[in-house]
Assembly symmetry: none
Homo-oligomer: 216 residues x 4
């Protein structure tokens, strides 16, 4: 890999953090210059404009988040354990880059005025949900999950709850909200089994997470 490409990647990595923390308008090329130690000429050789850099940086962030939090590093194949794994992984692994979840940040930051970024965020959510939905569908087909479960709705719920809880957690600067979300989502997922009794009190062992953490 030649020198220019290395520089380009370095810029993207630095910019990803800054854009994630400060948003597109809130982060200036000057900030990127300072973070990378490059001058203007050094940046604009690799990116045609600020938005171009922001797009690359967002893609990089997405990739990093996906790899770190989306639980794609498992060979679990049964639907319910896989769903549980995915939720727990998302909760357990902290954001791999400072500034919180780039999908949510970008969804809100770019909501007005940056269609390109907005579209990428949308796409990322879509793919995330598609993955979850596919698991549910496969679970239904294999009989692991009761047939009247609604895959799309389940995917929506998981993603919504996790993202919402993440936001609240960041705002409160505690992990309560995200852990509460985990617990509820896991119970919900266990309930998807056809023979599931009333959801009551799954043992800690079943959930496999955290010691008792009563809400504040």
């Amino acid at each position: 890999m030649h020198k220019g490409e290395l520089t380009r990647q370095r810029i993207i990595a630095e910019a990803a953090v800054l854009f994630n923390q400060r948003g597109f308008t809130g982060c200036s090329m000057q900030d990127v210059m300072e973070a990378t130690g490059l001058e203007k000429g050094g940046l604009y050789r690799h990116f045609t404009c600020k938005e171009d850099l922001a797009v690359e940086a967002f893609k990089y962030s997405l990739d990093k988040v996906r790899r770190a939090r989306f639980g794609e590093d498992t060979d679990i194949s049964d639907a319910i354990p896989l769903l549980l794994y995915k939720v727990r992984q998302f909760v357990r692994v902290p954001s791999p880059l400072p500034g919180g979840c780039p999908i949510m940040n970008t969804a809100i930051d770019a909501d007005d005025g940056n269609p390109t970024l907005l579209h990428l965020a949308h796409q990322a959510v879509q793919e995330w949900k598609d993955g979850l939905r596919a698991i549910v569908e496969q679970g239904i087909r294999s009989g692991e999950i009761k047939p009247d479960a609604q895959p799309g709705r389940i995917a929506n719920l998981i993603v919504s709850t996790l993202e919402g809880a993440l936001m609240i957690s960041r705002l409160e600067n505690t992990r309560h909200a995200i852990l509460d979300a985990e617990e509820t989502l896991c119970a919900f997922i266990l309930d998807l089994a056809p023979n599931a009794e009333r959801s009551p009190k799954p043992t800690r062992r079943e959930l496999g997470t955290r010691t008792a953490q009563p809400a504040k």
Copy 2:
């Protein structure tokens, strides 16, 4: 109320929309000028600086959202119906100001660099959650809700899920996510009753949503 105060209120109302849509950095005083038809001098007569205006605008937005969506306009006193009412109200009533939920917007927009706004957003979430928790606690005391329910956790879940679903809904430009969240949350709330059977298949009528969508 004298003329100056009226003008001030008008500025705040206009600014609230703009700041909610574009964020603090993304919205300029020039934008506010154009929206209000005032000149810059006219604005600075009423607000010492941009942040001052943003704070007032955010307070205004909060107030509006609270009144419209937080279901405070009811005399329901039983815990579970009240919780259901609050969730449904939040879902049913659209954001009273363009740009989505100002709490979430501000929480993310101000996350880096604007402590004052961030604190206000935090406070708003806190109060929202406090209200929900109080209802649960009262329900436990009155026996409506089973004694092992965790009020804080329930509040966290409701707020997280609603906000998260709102974000997804905005991003996708459909109401699916928010409606799915409603349905799940309502089922969850019904499950809080001490005698609740397994949450199974509540009829549409019971949940009173999606198909049945009674106006406010």
Copy 3:
């Protein structure tokens, strides 16, 4: 005088030094920014472009040099004493701004590619010479100076010798050249009197300058 004009003058004063030291191409707007403590916006509000600033700065420098070194602060009216005074004043007073004589600097710096500045330098030399020539002409009319003296040539000689000596002095970082020039020019001027004997050995008193300063 309002604020903007004060700032403008401050910029000019700072820039005059920098341009005189480093030349037009050798001094960047960034340098001026640092010297003045202003940002780009602050500079370009007052000057349409770099050349505009350079022109104003040069005019300022000229004015300063003229006032300080051109001996215009005297009421001597007799031609020969006046010429002597002018030469001595130029030699005695150091450059009022760092970087040497702005006329010479600009004449050479702007020689290629900056006609505006070049023209100003030319003009300055012209006026300087005109002043000297007028004194000689008046001296001839009044009989102080012998009738066959050539005013234009005398002006040329004085200016050339002083500027050349200044350059040599700067280069050598001693005052020898400029003092030698003074001595010779003063002798030359005394020789202009109709009754002047052979120029030899004007007493120190006559010259009124420096103690013996043999060349290196």
Copy 4:
């Protein structure tokens, strides 16, 4: 001389002109490229950096000027005729490279920020003056020049006056200043003879200038 060395010399010769006309900062490697028809890589094969090229170019310019204008191509041995010859030669021969006297140009251009070039210019002036002083000293020893003449001062005067006049001449785009300087310097030199009468009215023939302008 092999091909590479020829190219190197060609680059130096072209660069000498450009640097002399535009100064170090005012002349870019691109300019040199265009003048030589070489590409950048071709230049950097021969010179480690721009300054290196500028130094070589200046040395080349100096050499050329010395040979052309410093009157070293004579076997005159008597002091006064030799001095006269040197002055006249300097005046008569135009600058062998466009852009004026490289010594003066460099002295002023490099005055801030390029010590190497500045030192070379200084050295060149020193050698020039040393040569003149040696002639005067020899003249004193041989009795051609009156014993109280000050060799250093005379050298200073000649160099200063010639360089200053050259600058004025360039600025005015006429030869007046330099011819006036010649005339005065020649008179001054004739006056150095022990038996010199008052310098009066040397005939044109004696000075051999302006009207009579023999080609080189």
